[in-house]
Every structure is written in structure tokens, then in C-alpha cells.
Amino acid sequence: MSTAATGVAHATPRARTTDGAEVPAVSAAQMAEVDRLAVEEFGIDLLQMMEQAGSHLAELARRLLGGDLRGKRIVVAVGPGNNGGGGLVAARHLADRGATVRSVLSRPALRLSDAGRHQLATLLAMEVSCCVATFDLDDVELADVLGGADLVIDALLGYSSSGAPRDEIGRVVEAIEAAGRPVLSLDLPSGLDADTGDVAEPAIRAMATMTLALPKTGLLSADGPGRVGDLYLADIGLPTALYRRLGLDVGTPFATGRIVPLAISA
């Protein structure tokens, strides 16, 4: 597919890593094309990418919690899509590294994506606590669980969702916001539009956001910068050759590490 067809604009907002390297931001449609190429042309399957996303997310959580996960209480809010699957991978790493983890699914377990169910099966075998908001936890219990957390991970919605978080997902977003605990968002704060940066009601206000592969334009535009907290970019192993196919000049943002802080380029 040509770059024109996927809508690469010349005025794309850019972000900059701490060593000064510029990284282009992409729209949700471009990111979908990146994912498609990864799977279909480069043989990098979803579980591979998800594993890296979740493992980096756990590592970033460790850093944000002062360097030692032992005894830390972490709630992972899990959406039905692949963003939620990444959250479940993070839950596995966090639990195995000493944190007390509670996974709260926004929808029933079998409504998870295939890859998400795969991750959930591992967590259940590990006997990590998993439950479904609305059905297994009433509002008071959910508020208690969230209120007692040292960190809440927001893995509810990814770049492909748009509009206000609805139904069960909306209720979990509202509960997280009401709890007022520090939130680490995966890819983008749920409720923030990945393209425009417009914020829906309800939406997450994150202490930090770890976005995957490339920043999404919405993180750098409109309400985005006020919602993402500290912004990080994480490497999920997508090759430069893939970006070149889409006409994206990405450079080497991960030369100094696999999770790098990002600042908006002037």
C-alpha cells in the first residue's frame, strides 16, 4: 500500500527521545498497517509483539514504583482486545517478579481476543487473581481493589478504539478515575483518541504512558499531552525495513534502551 493511501501527512507531529533522535508519530490507520505488515510480510506474530509489550510494561512499572516490585499491589485493568492481552502479559511478569497482582477484566473472559485468552489461561495456571468487573466484583469491591493499589495499569483500550469508553469498559474507566491512584497506560490512556488527541468522557488521566513501536499522533495533539503523563516509547521488535515500506523514516530510537522517554518535538 502506498504512503498516500495510508494518509502519511507531511505535517505529522514528531517526538524526540532523550538523546535527541526524532521519531515520527502515526495515525491509527498507519499503525494498523504496521501491524498487518509485521504479521503478514515479516512473520512477526501477535503473541511475539504482545510478549514484548507486556514485559516492557512490567519493567516500566518496576521503575515507577521505586525499583523493587516485591510487596507492591498492582491492579491491571484489562480490555477485551489486544491491548488487554498486553496487560495480561504484564500481570504475569509483575506477579512473577514479586508484586501482588490483581487482573480486573472489563468483559467476560471468553470475550477476550484469542491472544488475550491465551495469556489469561497462563495467568490462571499461575493462580494469579483474575476477575471480571460488573459480574464478579460489585462497584464497592471494585473501588476497594483500585483504592488499595500502589499502581493501576490501564490496558483497557488500544489505538484502534474510538469514541467514549462504553458499558463495562466505561464503568472501569470511571472507577479508576474515582480511585485517584497512579495510572500507567499501555499504548495510550483509554478514552483518548489515538488520531486527534481529543479526550472522551470518561477517560484516563495517566501518570505515565508507554506507547508501542511509534507514538500515535493523538498522544502529541490537542488534549493528549495533558493526559499521557510521562511518555515512554517501547520497542516491540519491529524492523526498520518494515517502516521503510510505509515511507516512514524512524531512525534508531532504541539505540540507548528498549524503553525510552519521549518529549514532543517543537
Binding site: 494498523a32 482486545g81 473472559a109 489461561a121 471480571v132 484502534s160
Partner: protein, 240 residues
Amino acid sequence: MTAPPPRPLAEKLGLLRELDLFQGLSDADIEAIGHATTMTHCERGQQIASPDDPPDRIHILKKGRVRVYRMTADGKQLTLDIYEKGTILGDMALLGQQRLPDAYAEAVDDSVVCTITPDELRRLVERFPIIGVNVISHLSRRLSDAERDLETMAYARVGQRLARRLVDLAARFGVATGEGTRIDARLTQQELAELIGTTRETLAHTIADFRRRGLLDHEKHSVTIRDAERLAEIAEGESD
């Protein structure tokens, strides 16, 4: 996305959703069946099925909603799915249905459940042979679907897989409208993506591409095929 290996948790209780056991029967016949089988009125929270139940029975949810859950290691419940009226759940091996291990089912609200045991089903088939025909049609469709899915997964690209699935869904659920053939299969994008073995993101991208090319229109949970001929060509792999 490549499909992960099958796991017990990934098996769905709802495999029989598409089976209309009683298709072709008159209202009077269905009324008679209602009398011949066990119809249970369940209050909210009442248990309908448990891992301790005898195997090989199915429950047809006539009214209300049912929550299916399992117990986790810490003794708490984990909700697996919520089923609506019309769903058939159970583990009748005769119908190619497998039991979800350790699953319980309970009524979410006041419900009516029709339970059929293997003996009852046998008696029903003797009295209403059309039920046996429906079972055979269901099984043969599942078999041919499975064979074709295997072939499709192995060789076809996402666009072709989507086109094939849409052609198939249109044949089964399609309704002719002024704009084209509307498919009201009530599938979410996630479910459709899983059916064709791709991610929701890739599916959304492919649907957008088809829409741009005038092949279809897509609204929430509903697809209207505008150019059936061209879609069939893509499904056959003639071009994409």
C-alpha cells in the same frame, strides 16, 4: 495473526448457537416438545448447570440471560461469558459440542431453560424426524466449514479470507435490501477477526479498504454487500 494452539479455555460453550434444532416444526409441534422436555423457571442467581451434572445434556435458554463462570484458585468466581435468549449450551457430544471444563452456569435474571437429555432427544427424533435432519445438517455444515477453514487459513490472504467469510455469511444470514445484501449476523469485529484468523486492527483496515473500493458498507455489527460479484471474485482468489 497466526492462531494460537487450541486450549480448553478458548473453547466456547456457544458453539451450538447457529443450530436451530426445531427448524421446520409447526408451532403446535414445538408446543408439544415443550411439554415433553423439562422446562425450568430459574430465579436470578439460580444454578442451571455445574461440572457435577451428568454429561451429554443441553440447555436451551428460552428467556433471560445466563452467566457462565468457573472457580479460580483463590476460590473466587471468574465470569467466562454471558449468554442471551436463544443460546443452546451444554456438552452434547452427539452434536459435536465439548464441555468447557469446570464451568458453572447461573441465571442472571429470571430465566426459562429447556433441558434435553440424550434419551429425550432420541425420543424427540423418533417423533419428529425433522429434528434428526436438522442435527445432520448442522454436523455436515460444521464439517465442511472446518475443512474449508483449514484450507483458507493455510493459503488465503486476509482480504480473500474476509471475502469468503462474507459470501458465506451472506448466503446464510443475508437479507436483500435496496442497497445490497445486508448481513445481520450480529458479529462484533473481534468475533469476525477471530473467524478469519486475523487481528481486529487488520480486519478494520481490510473492511475500510473494501468500503473504499465500493464492495460493501459497514455499520455497527452490520455489513451490506454492495458488489457481490466482485466480492465473490476476491473470495475465489481471482484478484485482490
